[in-house]
């Protein structure tokens, strides 16, 4: 691996996205719009205080997962990946370069979404606000890593988009969006314990309600980060210099 090549890849991806202002606008506006909609739906009562944090876990995760898998798939299909792999570029340079670029986008998106939820929609964060940002950012980066990985298993944009209901929706359901995890059947609760998104959803909800200590939250985020790194490693392994 080589820092110059990794950062060159990050800069290149960011330049590409800069030429597509509509994608940037969608990245920032869509999660805010959805969070605002949910806040409005639950405006009679206190349900938004429990659902709001889960929304901040879910929407950036979905958006980053989709954007990443489609953009990476485009690179695989356009022939530029074949060219890059015939050049002195390590697979890790490519994957980490992409991950850094999308992590930066995720940071922008999460800042917008959290600010909107707190200052416009009136979401109360009882715990540390910085820790809340950190948890939300880990969550979005996790979405990015999983998106990078699944793009390897899709041969068309249609398939990449189908991975969303196939791989992401079950994680949202078992992560406790509709029914708190404590009330799930035992088997589903146990399955949920092993899903990546569960850990960031739990961490984000815990900071919002200030129900667990900082150490516990950091442990959950560490597990999520381990999943993200594992997905990136697997993603690097799926890059083949020689193809059939």
């Amino acid at each position: 691996m080589n820092a110059r090549r990794t950062l060159a890849t990050t800069a290149r991806v960011l330049t590409q996205i800069r030429h597509d202002p509509r994608t940037i606008a969608l990245l920032v506006v869509v999660p805010c719009f959805l969070i605002g909609l949910v806040a409005w739906i639950f405006s009679n009562g206190r349900a938004f205080q429990t659902i709001g944090p889960a929304m901040i876990a879910v929407f950036p995760f979905i958006v980053m997962f989709t954007v990443t898998s489609v953009i990476t798939l485009r690179e695989r299909r356009s022939g530029t990946l074949e060219r890059l792999l015939a050049l002195p570029l390590a697979k890790a340079d490519f994957i980490v370069g992409y991950a850094l670029a999308f992590a930066l986008l995720a940071a922008i998106q999460v800042t917008a979404a959290v600010s909107f939820a707190v200052w416009v929609c009136g979401l109360t964060i009882s715990g540390d606000v910085l820790l809340f940002f950190a948890a939300a950012l880990t969550d979005a980066v996790l979405g990015t890593s999983l998106g990078l990985l699944v793009s390897a298993f899709a041969t068309s944009e249609f398939q990449a988009v189908q991975f969303l209901p196939a791989l992401v929706f079950p994680q949202i359901l078992l992560g406790g969006l509709f029914l708190p995890r404590a009330q799930l059947p035992d088997v589903l609760h146990a399955v949920g314990d092993w899903l990546p998104l569960t850990h960031t959803m739990d961490a984000i909800s815990a900071v919002a309600a200030d129900s667990h200590g900082t150490g516990w939250v950091l442990d959950e985020l560490a597990v999520a980060a381990a999943y993200a790194v594992g997905a990136l490693l697997l993603g690097a392994l799926t890059l083949r210099r020689r193809t059939p």
């Binding site: 110059r4 890849t9 290149r12 330049t15 030429h19 015939a86 020689r242």
Partner: protein
């Protein structure tokens, strides 16, 4: 041929008994070929004859089934070769949502060549007038020239170009061939594929391919002399006819 006879010091690519299987059939059944150094070698043959597969085997992006491919003295695909080969894929592999200069700059950083190389390759391929335009707005010919410009970065010893002149106007095509010869004069070796037979006359040497095999490997002049044909296309037809009748009576009897 005794073993090692093809390992002439002045060859850049040595292929022996190469077999490549794709989609359940041997697209290259058993191919042996040597590419001389310092020349412009044309790889000619109809679409689907295995040119791109052979090129990908040389560059090291093709999974092969058997045989050896030695490039610049090392097995194809070796890490140290990635600095020494310039490769242009058949479809221009550049980023549509970057400008020409941004594309070249990115690949320049990946190769670690000096920034002074950027204006040089843009100028060589005649792209300065459009250098700040987004690639997505360019014509097909400009995109393939950009793909070529990227391959010229770092002055590679071997340039492998898969159909670089497709969709290029005749004047520019002539300029590109002149540039290929300039590069060869400066010490590079070039392998240029084309399915247009009349480009054969511009090569120092031509390799005619058909059905994944080498039909002829000679200089254009010698090829015309041995076949008695007026042009390379006629030579191709004559060679196909000769190899078909040479396979025996069962072949001749088929309708």
């Amino acid at each position: 041929m005794p073993p090692g006879a093809a390992r002439h010091p002045t060859t850049v690519v040595d292929i022996s008994d190469l077999t490549v299987r794709r989609g359940g059939r041997d697209v290259i059944p058993n191919l042996t070929l040597a590419i001389p150094a310092g020349q412009v070698v044309g790889l000619l043959g109809p679409s689907g004859c295995g040119k791109s597969t052979l090129i990908r085997s040389i560059v090291g992006t093709q999974r092969t089934r058997g045989g050896t491919v030695t490039v610049l003295g090392r097995p194809a695909g070796t890490r140290s070769l990635r600095h020494r080969i310039g490769y242009v894929t058949q479809a221009p592999s550049v980023y549509d949502d970057l400008t020409i200069v941004q594309n070249v700059r990115y690949f320049c950083r990946i190769l670690g060549s000096s920034r002074g190389d950027i204006p040089r390759v843009v100028e060589t391929t005649g792209l300065e007038p459009v250098q700040d335009r987004l690639v997505g707005t360019l014509s097909g010919g400009e995109r393939s020239r950009l793909s070529l410009a990227v391959a010229l970065l770092g002055r590679p010893e071997l340039l492998v170009l898969d159909e670089p002149t497709v969709g290029v106007d005749p004047l520019l095509r002539r300029r590109l061939w002149e540039m290929f010869h300039d590069l060869a004069d400066a010490g590079s070796s070039l392998l240029v594929s084309s399915h247009v037979m009349d480009e054969a006359g511009r090569c120092d040497r031509i390799v005619l391919m058909r059905d994944g095999g080498v039909l002829a490997d000679d200089s254009p002049g010698a090829l015309l002399t041995t076949t008695g044909a007026a042009d390379v296309e006629a030579a191709f037809v004559a060679l196909v006819g000769a190899s078909a009748s040479g396979r025996g009576s069962s072949q001749d009897a088929s309708p």
